[in-house]
């Protein structure tokens, strides 16, 4: 599996006070830890266990993720934008890796 690659989609600009839709997707195999390989050994769990979204440092959305979530987790949520700024997205992997993405938004 290639290195997990985050993708984020949100508008480049919005009216002040507008509620925008944010879509996020990360490629990840989300190995549940409940499968066994051909020799009967448990395949170690490796999932994204936490996702957060911040706007100018303030939390917008966050969640803990458990093994039942499928591969390539996709999250869609909305946020009210009162000022221009930067959304920061963070995915935390079981092995300690952290994948991040940032996207700016202007206020018209």
């Amino acid at each position: 599996m290639a290195t997990p690659k985050p993708r984020v989609k949100l508008p480049k600009s919005a009216a002040a006070g507008e509620v925008v839709t944010i879509k996020t997707l990360i490629s990840h195999e989300m190995e549940s830890g409940q499968r066994k390989d051909k020799d009967g050994n448990v395949i170690p769990r490796k999932i994204i266990n936490k996702f957060t979204c911040e706007f100018n440092g303030a939390p917008v959305f966050s969640c803990d993720i458990d093994p039942a979530v499928s591969a390539n987790p996709y999250f869609e949520f909305s946020a009210k934008v009162n000022e221009a700024g930067t959304f920061k997205f963070t995915w935390v992997d079981d092995d300690g890796s952290v994948y991040t993405d940032e996207q700016k938004i202007d206020v018209k």
Binding site: S70, A71, Y74, E76
Partner: protein, 285 residues
């Protein structure tokens, strides 16, 4: 949703009585556009088919599944396409070349390619599809090894190449080489009953069209969206893997991927979808 369970429209789709039981349901009345590209999901059938119109499998799926394909961001198959884009310019083999070394920008050079395969391979004296064409390039021009069947790279690169033809109508030129005789072989395979269940492709995709087998709404079995993202596997599924899966479900012995039998079937079934848009990567359940 109620509309979908209305009686079958009068027309060529009056299916004959057969073993597959279940409610009848029409393909939905919906249109598909992906990133501004209009996708032809229903069109006049090529002459010789027992249908008036051919339908993309997209019209037979649930609203949520259809919406996932319509949004290229939400479509998990696009991850594979992006991976294919990486592979396109990745150097491999003894010649120090990548696909891009000869073919430059795939958006230009590969446009339309996915809509016009399989083609006739004069060297091998048999039809060639995208997967085999990639392997031929890798072995003969790059000095690299052929991809293993259904390797992640093979599916990704095939998806990337076919995606360059998104929206373009499928059309195969049967006048090349001996393609016509392979088409005949493919047609014969399509209508031959096999396996312990004694099913042919036509049992489900012609006679059973529009019916349900358990939770599955039977489509025409069109292949214009392959490789396809399937929720069942939560992964991209190649055409030959899907063929093998169908054949396994009839409890017959599965032919090998890219075998003569499956290449003939690919050619014939591709022809059955003449005029439908390439949808790669389609989303199905």
């Amino acid at each position: 949703m109620k509309k979908r369970f209305s009686a079958m429209a009068v027309g060529a789709f009056v299916a004959s009585a057969m073993a597959v039981t279940g409610a009848q349901a029409d393909p939905v009345d919906d249109t598909l556009s992906i990133d501004g590209v209009e996708i032809i999901t229903r069109t006049k059938a090529p002459e010789g088919l027992p249908f008036d119109e051919v339908y993309s499998g997209w019209l037979f799926r649930e609203a949520e599944t259809r919406a996932t394909e319509a949004d290229s961001f939400a479509n998990p198959g696009m991850l594979s396409v992006e991976r294919g884009e990486e592979l396109w310019s990745m150097v491999d083999g003894s010649q120090g070349k990548s696909c891009a070394s000869c073919h430059n920008d795939a958006a230009e050079t590969m446009k339309g390619v996915g809509a016009n395969y399989p083609k006739w391979d004069e060297d091998a004296k048999r039809p060639i599809n995208i997967e085999l064409q990639i392997d031929k390039c890798r072995v003969e021009n790059m000095g690299a090894e052929a991809y293993k069947f259904d390797s992640e790279q093979q599916i990704a690169l095939t998806s990337y190449i076919k995606h360059q033809s998104l929206g373009m109508p499928v059309s195969v030129d049967l006048s090349q080489g001996e393609l016509q005789s392979w088409w005949d072989k493919g047609k014969q395979a399509y209508y031959t009953r096999t396996g312990q269940l004694n099913f042919s492709c036509a049992s489900c995709h012609e006679d059973g069209l529009g019916k349900h087998i358990r939770a599955d709404h039977l489509s025409q079995g069109q292949i214009n969206g392959f490789p396809t993202y399937r929720f069942q596997q939560a992964a991209m599924v190649s055409l030959h893997s899907r063929f093998r899966g169908c054949i396994r479900d009839t409890r017959a012995e599965m032919p090998k991927a890219f075998s003569d039998q499956l290449m003939a079937l690919e050619l014939y079934v591709t022809w059955r979808g003449t005029g439908l848009s390439v949808e790669t990567p389609a989303v199905r359940h």
